[in-house]
Amino acid sequence: MAAVKEVDRVRTIKASLKKQERQLFFRRFFANKLMVMGCFIFIVLGLIALIGPMLVSYDPYEMKVAERLNAPSGEHWLGTDEFGRDLLTRIVYGAQVSMGIGLIVTLISSILGLVIGLYASYYAALDHILMRICDGLMAIPGILLAIALMAALGPSPLNVIIALSIVFTPNIARIVRSSALVIREQTFIEAMHAQGASATRIIWQHIAPNTISPLIVQATFVFAEAIISEAALSFLGAGIAAPDPSWGNILQAGKLVIFKAWWMVVFPGLAIVLSVLGLNLLGDGLRDFIDPHSSGKKSK
């Protein structure tokens, strides 16, 4: 019976500790106003991408020649495009494409970058090979590389994802590797070696968790960049092809009619700016949030 009580006591200790930690977390989180704002913008845009298509009443592909290039009105809040399609609907569906591609690219390059960065930092021989490849990829400007890859692969959403993942993985791998190199030299890693831990255990249980914070910060920036890059590719015609809506190709269509229909460029442009701004605010905020030293200075 005594043992049961002991376990109970430990559980209550755990519960109260977790509660304290949670309170501290939220207090610090809400102290950082810009990050809260970035987070808010990001969540709203995310929700629009997720459930927006269910709320809008038009079909993004249905063309109505009679209604082409209508200015914003009660019926079409953001106006219509050159084929008479509702612009709000197009942007909402475009959000799904743009944010979706951004998210998938971020996930893929984060996972790949984490694996590459960790193993490169741990095995010196691997480091030389992997990092030279990364250097090679990073030497070419990202958007140029993406265009070249798209030219080779042909335009399709899947290929956009592949191309952008190749562009952004080295970026993350570098960040992970550099923080892993610092962690690797800490005594607790040596202590784990002395303990007889295997390489896999040390890499994944001890080094990886300590590189997650810089990884997350970098991932938010990659997310923002991926959105811009996807828009740029689509704008140049190398990304999402015409009838499918994406912020980039809406913008490109708008470019042709910029003097007749300002809403065609302003609203998709605004969507891109807002999402990137939100993500950057979030990223900057997270950096301060995760690193207690910089938050001290910011609070003044």
């Binding site: 938050s295 001290g296 609070s299 003044k300």
Partner: protein, 338 residues
Amino acid sequence: MEKKPLLEVKNLKTHFHTERGQITAVDGITFHLNEGEIVGVVGESGCGKSVMSQSIMRLYDEKYTAKYEGEILFQGENLLNLSKAMMQKIRGNDISMIFQDPLSSLNPVYTIGDQIRESLMIHQNLNKREAQQKAIEMLGLTGIPAPEKRINEYPHQLSGGMQQRVMIAIALSCQPKLLIADEPTTALDVTIQAQILDLIAELNAQLGMGVIFITHDLGVVAEICTRVMVMYLGQIVEETDTDCLFSEPLHPYTRGLIKSIPQLEGERLQKLYTIDGTVPSLQKVPHGCRFASRCPYADELCKEQAPELEAYSATQKVRCWHYKEILKKEAVHESSNE
């Protein structure tokens, strides 16, 4: 003739603004330092000894981080009333400082000659050649062999002991009246530490500057200081001359510290004396006596009221309610032991 004090610190308090509110790292310190005297400040980490020394130099940013209270009279002038520019003139010229880690206090991209000359050219208005002459002289004074060669070397080319000698040369180059040495030998090996301690004592005798020697090592205090202040949690708990510190420690904290060091001579003890617990956080400074929670003699009075620093003899001051009884008790105890 009575020696006149070079430095008089009166009720100095240093407050820091932190995320979790204001903390007082140095809380009401009063002491004086005569010309040519070496005073030791001992205490464990977090006792405020380094904060105190940096407060004397006003090294903390007064706009955002810190707030000073009290008086720091240096040759009769209150440093806390001086303008920033005036203070800058005093730093490095009248008052200099040496730190624990010599390598990080030296700029790696300049030769040691550049770094010694710099302060000479700023403070003493010497031209480059004069400064060079003086720099070589200072390096020679600190016992660096072949100073005219060494002066063109970079900090990383020197060993730890040599780097500390360079730091001392820089600190003493303008012939300061006061030298603050903040754990200058802690990072060094014992054989090198012995050399540096000898050097500081020798230069003190030769140049007659006052020295505030901050350390956590009671052995070092015994070696070099004439007077000692023991600090605990931002306050001085005992002030005494060095002989009395070991022969007649008054405060229970001082007694505990002395007893808990393993001895090099005499009988090996089976168990070391320990002071229980840890130093309380500055955010939760105890109500009464700050040492009460770790003190074996503490009673209700100690927990409720904070004692003042009171004089016991001409050279000894102590901050404790019960030091007289403890002294009596321990004397009986010790004599019965023998």
